[in-house]
């Protein structure tokens, strides 16, 4: 297996966070309760936002990677 670069590790981590965020989203989508709405916003939203942000940061060229 080829050695993974720093960017690839970031992409991996970003993908994992996005997966968790999307799983929270799909689970909460089938429930109708105010708490579920908050759970989606706080938990799902955070995972998705951090995952996307990490992906965007991975795109920024770095001298070390």
């Amino acid at each position: 297996m080829a050695t993974r670069t720093k960017i690839e590790w970031r992409l991996r981590f970003s993908g994992a966070l996005i997966c968790i965020g999307l799983l929270v989203e799909i689970i909460t989508l089938f429930w109708t309760h105010p708490t579920i709405f908050l759970m989606y916003l706080i938990a799902g939203g955070s995972f998705l936002a951090v995952g996307i942000l990490l992906y965007l940061l991975a795109l920024i060229p770095s001298d070390k990677s």
């Binding site: 999307l22 989203e25 799909i26 989508l29 309760h33 105010p34 709405f37 995952g51």
Partner: protein, 202 residues
């Protein structure tokens, strides 16, 4: 449609997570852009919209225990109960009964409703739920007139046109529809124990 997009997004994100080295070629880069930016962004925004739409539903409002009696008041077999008459005769959409009357028909009415909803949640989880739930501000005639204004039954009803002043007072909210002794039986949740119900289920 949204669940399908989410499932596709999850599938693609798993591929990138398991094999990040595919992003070394241009096709993989495009796939990563779709999987880690485009689809999650679309799913996230669409999810918020879907949840906001869900939050307008009657079952959403009544899913909290303190609201049970308010739901029951929609089923009372008594034409004096304003919410019951509206609900049972489909004057308001049954699946959005609470929202239809308790949103502000203003530019930021939807937003204000959501902010109020968050305050309700804070009160609910703080455990300081008042025995009698009260509106943050007196009920505005604007919400009634949003539907009733121009309606023949309303405009020709003698109490509403008793004097030209009456109609103006209603429009200006100086004479309340609900607290001027005309339509004053609203949810009345403390007196629902012995009332007959039109139907047992919402």
């Amino acid at each position: 449609m949204l669940p399908i997009i989410i499932v596709i997004s999850i599938g693609l994100a798993i591929i990138i997570t398991a094999r990040p080295e595919i992003t070394r070629n241009p096709g993989g880069k495009i796939l990563a852009f779709l999987a880690l930016f485009v689809l999650p962004s679309v799913s996230g925004v669409w999810g918020v919209a879907a949840h906001l739409e869900q939050s307008k539903k009657t079952v959403f409002c009544l899913s909290c225990h303190p609201m049970y009696e308010y739901g029951k008041s929609l089923l009372v077999d008594d034409a004096e109960f304003v919410p019951a008459v509206h609900y049972q005769n489909n004057f308001i959409p049954r699946d959005k009964a609470c929202y239809t009357c308790h949103t502000d028909y203003t530019l930021y009415g939807d937003l204000n409703s959501k902010i109020r909803g968050l305050r309700h949640l804070m009160v609910f989880y703080s455990g300081n739920i008042p025995d009698t739930l009260q509106l943050y501000s007196p009920y505005n005639n604007r919400e009634c007139l949003n539907c009733h204004s121009g309606m023949r039954k309303f405009e020709e009803s003698s109490p509403h046109i008793e004097t030209p002043m009456t109609r103006d007072s209603l429009s200006l909210n100086t004479l309340s529809c609900l607290s001027s002794g005309c339509h004053d039986v609203i949810h009345d949740v403390h007196n629902l124990d012995d009332v007959a119900l039109y139907n047992d289920s919402l």
